[in-house]
Amino acid sequence: MPQERTEAIVLRGVDFSETSRVVTFLSPHRGRMACLAAGAKRAKAGMAASLDTFNRVELVYYWKDSRTMQKLGEVALIDGYPGIKNDLAKAVYGALPLELAYKIAHENEPSPPLYATMVTGLESFAKWSAGPDVHATWQGLQLLSAAGFAPALDHCARCGRKVDTPTGFAFDGGATCSNCPTDRRLTPTGFAALLALSGSREFCPPLEQTGDIFELFCGFAARQLDSDLRSVRVIRQIYGQ
């Protein structure tokens, strides 16, 4: 059983038994990877703190092709992003990028760009001081784009015609022209925000006005991934978005 070492982000953890947890990581070269962390729930193991959701860690694990759950060896914390965890709104909205990464990534499929996007996003969010909905939208757009799901913005998603100022937005493709059916109206403000957020890879642009871009993005992401986004339900519950 070869021992491997990688950097990873903790996407999710669920209790497996009284003492163990199954932790799902996003890693650059193994994609989404579930590991059994035996004894992780014992306080003395010191492992539990490192396996907290959102954490960026370095881990040693034992890889075997034939199994769906790998065995975790050691974990060391690189960054726990207290800037996200100590802020209610960031911790709640921050669950959306985690859920998207979980649903976008595939098991044992290398995706260094997806991983890099995730790390850049977490780092930026920890320092971000404006609306968390805008930041989560930016992170989400970047993650989807890294996986090939970027919305159409310079042409109509329905008829393919080039459009400078789209008036609508279709969840299954992106911006639409005034002649095509659409899911939502797209205001000039919303379109400008969408353009700015999609175009900026390294940091979330500080936007004053964004319209209902968060809702628009959630509709798009849910349709692209063909999935009900649980985190969005909870965000709506808490923040009425």
């Binding site: 996407l11 010191g46 539990a48 703190a49 959701t53 726990g80 100590n86 649980r230 985190s231 909870v234």
Partner: protein, 199 residues
């Protein structure tokens, strides 16, 4: 050979569904129950059935109880103005074992976990706020676990409860008793330093 006998397989499967019990342990337990005098199996099944049918959740605090309200909520010698919020009944039990806490509890039956779709509506949070609104509570101690989800829950409760003008406190996190600093992880040490107290 008892392997592949349907009734035995069912028993093994039932044991396996308990936390911390793997296949081997389940087989061992099943064989033990079957080879011991029949009285053991009867006592065990009666006890499980009896306890399960009598135990319910307390209407006030949500803890597991036989009487409703539970013995803690019904105890007039306890301080009902201090409510300690825990994730699960096991949390309340752990604090009770300590033997020094004299306030009452509120069991959330989980923590906020947006990734799993668990929001305030999925937890016993409204019941807590209702208790606070009814008056007589001067402090809410948040004793959720120190995970990201436990912290998010603590932040959420703090916002909701302080809006009702009641003090919210968080249990301290730090170096375990008898623990050496060099064996404590960075995050715990940082929290221990932040939460230091004057001697």
């Amino acid at each position: 050979m008892l392997i592949h006998v349907p009734s035995v397989e069912r028993l093994i499967e039932a044991f396996r569904r308990l936390p911390g019990i793997g296949k081997r342990t389940a087989e061992r337990l099943a064989l033990h129950v079957l080879s011991a005098p029949a009285e053991l199996a009867e006592t065990l099944s009666d006890a499980v059935r009896d306890a399960r049918s009598r135990i319910t959740t307390c209407d006030i605090c949500g803890n597991l109880t036989e009487a409703n309200p539970c013995t803690i909520c019904a105890d007039e010698r306890r301080d009902h103005s201090v409510v300690c919020v825990v994730e699960r009944p096991a949390g309340a039990m752990a604090i009770e074992k300590g033997g020094t806490y004299r306030g009452v509890y509120h069991v959330l039956h989980g923590v906020l976990n947006p990734l799993e779709g668990i929001g305030p509506a999925e937890l016993k949070i409204e019941g807590l706020l209702e208790r606070v609104r009814r008056g007589g509570v001067r402090e809410v101690i948040v004793a959720t676990n120190t995970t990201a989800e436990g912290e998010t829950t603590a932040l959420y409760l703090s916002k909701q409860v302080s809006a009702l003008n009641v003090a919210v406190t968080r249990i301290a996190h730090g170096v375990p008793m008898g623990g050496g600093l060099e064996y404590t992880d960075d995050q715990t040490l940082q929290r221990a330093l932040e939460g230091r107290t004057r001697l």
